[in-house]
């Protein structure tokens, strides 16, 4: 592909554009993955805690 005398500028602008948008997409996906993981973590811990407490109460009544 011959892009004429200013090919470097065309490639540079497409590269810069791809870098910015690529970073944006990557960051968004990474953040989504992180939040999903944090939520799963919290859920698991939340369940454990609740079961912890009911177990304690069970011991208290007996």
């Amino acid at each position: 592909m011959d892009l004429g005398p200013h090919a470097a500028f065309i490639w540079a602008s497409y590269a810069a554009f791809a870098a910015i948008i690529g970073l944006l997409i990557g960051w968004t996906l990474l953040d989504g993955w992180r939040q999903a993981k944090a939520l799963a973590d919290a859920d698991r811990r939340g369940l454990k805690r609740r079961s912890d407490r009911t177990a304690n109460q069970g011991q208290k009544t007996s």
Binding site: P5, H6, F9, L39
Partner: protein, 253 residues
Amino acid sequence: MKSMQTLTQRLANPTRFMELSRAILPWIAAGAALFIAYAMYLVFFVAPPDYQQGETVKIMYIHVPSAWLALMGYSIIALSSFGLLVFRHPLADVSAKAAAPIGAAFTLAALITGSLWGKPMWGTYWVWDARLTSVLILFFLYLGLIALRSSLEDEALAGKLTAVLALVGVAILPIIKFSVDWWNTLHQPSTGFTSSVDPSMRTPLLLSAIGFTLLFIALHLKGMQNEILRRRVKTLRLAEIERGDRAFSERVE
């Protein structure tokens, strides 16, 4: 019990949004990929060089959509801010927060591609052209929104104050645009950037604009989902701490 109710209330509306957005997000993302891929094919293998600008006109196909999305992003933030301050819609703040970095990224992309387009056209990387200057100022407004939000600990307050700033920005943007145009005609009679778009370039430009707009929407939806998840995690952690406190006080009693 009362805190439980407000908790569910807080989750209710976003939950429906999560279901809906999860259903449509793949389609929007796929549409964005298709449109962008086809537009890029046309740009690099079909579209002719401009009779004045030669092949550098290829930069237009990403520069113009970026500039358009920079404006669209700010409009989304402004509308969301209005929704937050007037209707107190719980999703409005999520939307405004998620749109800011995306809009800022496209604004930056418009500035960089514009500057790289300017070098072969004008001979320098930066010309104080009215449009470039206005986009630069728009970028400052984006930075202000992001910085103000990140500088406040209280997230609810941060959202509302940022919304006030966004609406102030909307009020003043036309005045800034007008004054920059005035300033530009004083100092630079003509920049020669106003060539009408040839029909053979219109199709790829339109497809590219549609594709990147879909990409913007997809990123915005994903960003909103992420923010909702983040807030859920936060509420759960707070509830966990509360529960821990209560369990502790019960034990003390």
